[in-house]
Symmetry: C2
Subunit: 408 residues, 2 copies
DNA sequence: ACTAATTTGTTGAGAGCCATTACAAACCAT
DNA sequence: ATGGTTTGTAATGGCTCTCAACAAATTAGT
């Protein structure tokens, strides 16, 4: 059964209890070990400001819950009794990430350290098929992967499903719509065979951005993570938290006006970024809209191939898209002042040809503040981001509240 | 002496102590009384989920610290022993707000309920004069107002100074620059006569936005608060907190590109919003750049006067500025998806003539999400916002951590 | 008017959690 | 081997909440 979900324990009205204090201190200790492992109890105490006695009690509980491992005492070379090295457990609690794309299913299990331990991707044509059928296959894949994880000593504590669509920010497992899959108002629980393992859906772009944020060495606290699949969207990480906007529509980069009197967009407005940097627009500008695409299938791969081969119209098209994207991102930088901009999704695969013009446009537009060209970079995770983010969601929840773990 | 400042007690590394728990519960009780006053101890207990015993203890401490008042028992008509009505104290702790503008000084004392109890505005030409002189006069005004407050039984616990300039987000009392005042790198403590009453500086636009947020009946959690003084800026309230950006440059609305190949801006880019909706641009478009302004002095008042008189060029100029502003705000809405947009500062005074075109532009551009025209509104506080926000800053800090108050 | 019922606020005992202090265990240096 | 140092644990105490009991103050009913 899924233990780790969007529970909101204790926070009903803001009052603090001793359990909350305990919870937070468990998280602080676990976080200290994660950041500086290996650490002894005394090290942790010195670092976080609790006493050795308190840390001992907290560590005992974390070991009991399977979150920490304790190595036997090991000679340190320094005088005094050596400490026993604590490390985040690479067995025990884990997070399962699932992914449903138009052409594939994915699954990933990450241990508490945040390491992906199992990774599975199978090609499937999910676009036209009934949601129930796709979800049944996803569930089968999940069960398979969980069994493999069990063989590694990993016990999945939470399941998150990355979908290319709109997921409201409430519990309930609803996927409002996923155009690429042809889904409308799908409730996962209604189609999932085993009610004990129903995953929680989340938008794949958001998960990609979170993965990028969680995986960074020096985590920037405020990130604009651009990705283009159906439309052009930006996931916003604001001061370390995913920001969805008041109505859940934040980051609609695709409909930022780039040219006030430009061509009419499907949304009704004029000159939206999508008319310049959207997949259809780029294909058209590159002269690849017709037969070439039909033969090839994957538009992004086709563009990358032609650009790599030096196909001039494609290069011009990508340059133009980059300039438009740079213009829209300039607005984002002026408004949000992020630590960095990340190009994810399809843009990551086309980064070689997009980066120069995007950076040039940004350099020309962003002048009233310090702005380093390298603050714009392609995603380090590429298309693996969403699935990794899905698996890490559970891991981060556990790290933030270790009492979610069953005591073993 | 200033008791309430940017102290960061206990939060050094995230560990929770019993004091933190107490602090939070004091704040929760105080907040419940503020939101639903009058309330009895039993009411509070029922509402926040603490026991009557715990609430009693917390209330006793809040009374001791002067934050709550207790009325004698009063017949309620219901069966049972009547409760004693608790209310936020309108005597005792208070916040002082100060304001330095190019042509005036302001001071305001707000009690813990958030009510402004004293309000003072004196005209002064501060633009050319040495900072020390201006600050000495501000300090004198502050002392005067604090004395009056004392006569009302109010004891100022913190002082915040609204300045039209750049204030870094660190303690230290530094005003990096304030072009309208001719200030550069002014440290308040160096010029303030009494070291016990040095205020903490904050950007006036930020304070205006916070005042708007704090004063709203149904507080929207995410607000874009536009104001124009020297440049055009937006203060962003994201999920209830002022967001300054990674480097403190968030909300630079003035340099959002409105027309990619528009006229060159002082910032080096082309077609920035300021070239269309900035004060200088609007005056020029209205044909008021020269003598008329010289005679009048206050550009905003002049524009309002001419527009009110039906002066066609002025009306056209404001209409054009509104369209440009609407275009830039459409980008902000697409990116941030705020609950509402507020026109403050000079825009608030010109709202009658700006609103129609801004709203029209927004309606035409913001189409992929629900967007109500009334979500854009002029500031309810107008130019009183910054000073009120300065006074309320201390009040809100006390509400969030009543242990900042001296006991006794 | 008097009693019963009800609600409020307080009091005392108890539980949970951390701080403090003391101490045994395990290591290095001499 | 002995002393010094550091680690981890155990015992005690303090703080803050919960729980249960009770006195106080009111309404409802007779």
């Amino acid at each position: 059964m899924t233990v780790v979900g969007r529970t909101n324990r204790g926070a009903e009205n803001g009052r603090a209890s001793q359990q909350d204090m305990r919870r937070q201190n468990l998280a602080v200790v676990l976080g200290a070990v994660r950041a500086h492992s290996p650490l002894s109890r005394a090290d942790v105490a010195g670092r976080v400001g609790l006493t050795r006695a308190a840390v001992s009690s907290l560590v005992d509980e974390l070991i009991e819950r399977g979150a920490l491992n304790e190595a036997p005492a090991t000679a340190s070379g320094r005088v005094g009794r050596p400490g026993r090295a604590l490390t985040i457990s690479d067995r025990g609690p884990a997070g399962l990430g699932l992914e449903i794309g138009a052409t594939h299913l994915g699954a990933c299990v990450a241990d508490l350290r945040g390491e992906p331990r199992l990774w599975r991707r199978v090609e499937r044509d999910n676009a036209g098929r009934p949601a129930g059928q796709v979800l049944a296959e996803a569930a089968a894949l999940a069960a398979e992967v969980e069994a493999e994880a069990a063989a590694l000593g990993l016990c999945v504590q939470g399941r998150v499903l990355a979908v290319p669509g709109v997921v409201p920010n409430e519990p309930g497992g609803l996927v409002e719509r996923a155009p690429n899959l042809g889904w409308h108002g799908i409730r996962l629980a209604h189609h999932w065979p085993d009610q004990n393992t129903v995953p929680e859906p989340e938008n794949e772009a958001n998960l990609g951005a979170l993965a990028e944020y969680w995986s960074a060495e020096l985590p920037a606290q405020t990130i604009v993570h651009v990705s283009a699949e159906t439309g052009i969207g930006a996931a916003l990480i604001i001061e370390g938290r995913l920001f969805r906007g008041a109505r859940g529509f934040a980051g609609e980069l695709g409909h930022i006006p780039v040219q006030p009197d430009g061509p009419r967009c499907a949304c009704g407005a004029r000159g939206c970024l999508e008319q310049y940097a959207g997949e259809a627009a780029v294909l058209r500008a590159a002269g690849l809209a017709g037969d070439a695409l039909g033969q090839h299938g994957d538009a992004v791969a086709l563009l990358a191939e032609r650009a790599g081969a030096g196909h001039a119209p494609t290069l011009r098209a990508l340059d133009g898209a980059g300039r438009a994207l740079g213009l829209a991102l300039a607005s984002a930088v002026e408004l949000i002042d992020p630590d960095c901009l990340v190009l994810g999704g399809a843009y990551a695969e086309l980064a070689d040809w997009l980066l120069p013009s995007v950076r040039a446009e940004l350099a020309a537009r962003v002048t009233v503040r310090p702005w380093a060209s390298e603050a714009l970079r392609p995603s380090a995770l590429g298309r693996r981001g969403p699935l990794l983010g899905a698996a890490l969601t559970t891991v981060r929840r556990i790290m933030a509240d270790p009492t979610l773990l069953p005591t073993g």
